[in-house]
């Protein structure tokens, strides 16, 4: 199993609860906006604490309310790719990529840069990038932090059609070549059917 998630959490008036165990590959959380998909990613990443439940990835327990286990977000090594890229505006692309870099990753910086086709962007400032370029840099930054798994929150949502295709191909190659477990949030059925081995309806 890659992701084993059973969580519940009350957020204001809404109650978010879900339970799934996913085989290796890309797992999509699919459902309408406001269903709590992002909250589930946040719980897996350690940014949001479930009221109760258990989260394990690749057999490693990240959170277990029964055992009083809650690994801090910094130690979970989740490669979180946000919908809005969230590149650090005061750092050039190269420094953004290096920000969370840990040794022993699956790829070196040169390999990641080559894999994502962002060599020509290294000296640029984030504000000068297109949406697709920014998203590829964000994926690169996450990959270089030597993640155990990737969390992707609608990484295509803010992109136009051409850019979507460009980033979608990158995600397919991540899935097929890196063998990293990926938890992927989307509300677009076509996107999910193309990418996911497992679809969890929220």
């Amino acid at each position: 199993m890659s992701f084993e998630v059973t969580v519940s959490r009350k957020l204001g008036d809404t109650h978010i609860a879900c339970s799934f165990a996913a085989p290796p590959g890309l797992t999509a959380l699919f459902g309408p906006s406001g269903a709590g998909k992002t909250s589930i990613l946040n719980m897996v990443s350690g940014l949001l604490r479930p009221n109760q439940g258990r989260i394990a990835v690749g057999g490693e327990v990240l959170f277990d309310s029964a055992a009083g286990m809650d690994m801090p977000v910094q130690q979970r090594r989740s490669g979180y790719v946000f919908q809005d890229a969230r590149l650090f505006p005061h750092l050039r692309v190269r420094a953004n990529l290096a920000y969370g870099a840990r040794h022993g990753g699956v790829m070196s910086q040169a390999e990641v840069v080559d894999f994502l086709g962002i060599a020509h962007l290294l000296h640029r400032w984030p504000r000068t990038l297109s949406g697709g370029e920014a998203q590829r840099v964000a994926i690169g930054r996450a990959l270089l932090s030597n993640p155990r798994f990737l969390l992707m929150d609608e990484p295509l949502a803010s992109l136009d059609r051409a850019r979507r295709e460009e980033v979608m191909r990158v995600i397919e190659r991540l899935r097929d070549e890196m063998r990293l477990p990926i938890l992927y949030v989307s509300h677009d059925r076509a996107e999910v059917e193309r990418l996911a081995a497992t679809i969890v309806e929220i």
């Binding site: 940014l47 090594r77 490669g79 979180y80 969230r86 920000y99 930054r141």
Partner: protein
Amino acid sequence: MTAEEWEIVRLSLKVGAVAVAACLPVAFALAWALARGRFPGKVLLDALIHLPLVLPPVVTGWLLLLAFGPQGPAGAWLDGTLGLTFMFRWTGAALAAAVMALPLMVRAMRLSIEAVDQRLEVAAMTLGASRWRTFRTITVPLALPGVIAGTVLGFARSLGEFGATITFVSNIPGETQTLPLAIYSALQIPGGESAVTRLAMISVLLSLAALVISEVLARRMGRSAHVL
């Protein structure tokens, strides 16, 4: 300009620099608390910080005298522990300037801290950065233009401080007589007009330079976080 006048300018710059340097960490901590903190009495703290801005400066000076004079609780304590005295000394002028500059500095820094996108801090933490590293490498650099702008503005305010200073530490040439106090004294002397003109011109130039620098930095923040 005479040697005496240069001495006045030098003293003013020293008082302003020391006031702002001492104020900076305090102002940043207060700005941080007001921007990010959630605690009871926040409104009261905010009001207290802003008090020197609206209080007659003479009252601020008198309160400083009560607190930091030789018999005052803070004054006695600082004298006992650090050997730091304020009465009729330039350190007192710096303290008065710092208290008067504090609200302006806190205001500018608070705006810049509030303008920092906290989602970027979250992203840094998912990349393994500790809270301290996130603060150091994301929050502070992004808030920096506002912090610098606030500091420059506080410095300009310090150079102009008059009422609290003259009440607290009097008007002693070479010790507490900063630019505005020297201008005030020169005005009292028959035939002092040329000295007044020169000192006033220097005041205008220094203040103008500080304001322009502060405003340029505020613009560079990208948002209209103007401190004026």
